[in-house]
Symmetry: C2
Subunit: 199 residues, 2 copies
């Protein structure tokens, strides 16, 4: 029996809602933005900054990382970005240690890769479906929604690759990959709960 | 409601057995080796040859394809290999047209890509799990099993790429990807049946 569920998700796929419903069905906590708050408190930065650094990698952030992570300057100290990521890793490990739970995003599948009690899920959908959902939710045009979704997933993907050396969303890193557009949110919840109870 | 299930599978993942059980649970036919027999009959070749050509692409076969497919010689006629693949495509289309069914492998997800009543599944597992299953089933050493599994999947992957331009096993081509080693065969069957009934 697995203890932890990690849920990676494409932006606009409904992964956050699915994660909340899975946690509710199983009667266990779900950690998503809560992790950001914990990291922000510990590192004394704003939630907005902690969120960006903890999951997204923009070009300017990459340059900053590069100065520390790749070229080993003598006497250099960890950048604030690295401190934030390191704190996030500690918090994810601590949550997994404490009790059964659902953890959304933040490369939790990779952070917890050495545990054998983790079920790794990825939620994806076609761009058409994600645009349809996002434009309604955030009052955007088709073009705006598509641009925002693509940019966000690209940043998530770069962050994941930078910290794990793996391809974000690659099926080989997950035990179950679901297309929420075709299956529907409620069926995704059912399948994840069933998989969790039987694995 | 979907009508057809296609199941792609890594060699040794138990995909064939899962497909049979899914079809049994749904009371619909499952086509796997049966397609090979139909192709062999129509093209008047042995089943062994039809099987190889219909799903695997070895180096020597690639050279043969290359002469026809890539360099457009004037007056060239389709090679036997292309005739076999073309017959296979016709048979898959015809099966999908006739009745609800499960189709295993043979790039059926790609062949049927323009239908909206198809649920595409991929079954995978860790190499450790696949070796464990295969060495028992075929009386092989760990090393032998690993070599055979890797070779077979490489040939399937090359064949899929040659005919579709897509990456075999890439999550974006499927609605549901399952790790049979972690979830277990029976849970995979349950999840696929549930997904099919609700999609």
């Amino acid at each position: 029996m697995k203890k932890i569920i990690t849920i990676g998700r494409e932006c606009g796929s409904g992964g956050h809602t699915i994660a909340l419903k899975v946690a509710e069905a199983l009667g266990i906590p779900c950690y998503d933005k809560e992790i950001i708050s914990m990291v922000a408190d510990k590192c004394m930065v704003s939630k907005e900054y902690a969120e960006k650094v903890g999951e997204l990698l923009t070009n300017s952030m990459y340059q900053s990382y590069y100065g520390y992570g790749k070229i080993s300057f003598p006497y250099s100290s960890p950048s604030l970005q690295d401190q934030i990521n390191s704190t996030q890793v500690d918090i994810i490990n601590s949550l997994a240690e404490n009790s059964s739970c659902v953890i959304v995003g933040r490369g939790a599948d990779y952070v917890l890769r050495n545990r054998d009690d983790v079920l790794n899920i990825f939620i994806k959908a076609s761009m058409e479906y994600k645009v349809m959902i996002s434009k309604e939710k955030h009052d955007l045009t088709n073009k705006e929604a598509k641009t925002i979704l693509a940019k966000r997933d690209k940043e998530r993907s770069k962050h994941y690759y930078f910290y794990t050396g793996q391809t974000w969303g690659d099926a080989k890193n997950y035990h179950l990959v679901l297309d929420s557009g075709v299956l529907g949110e409620d069926t995704c919840v059912k399948l994840i709960v069933e998989a969790f109870k039987n694995s």
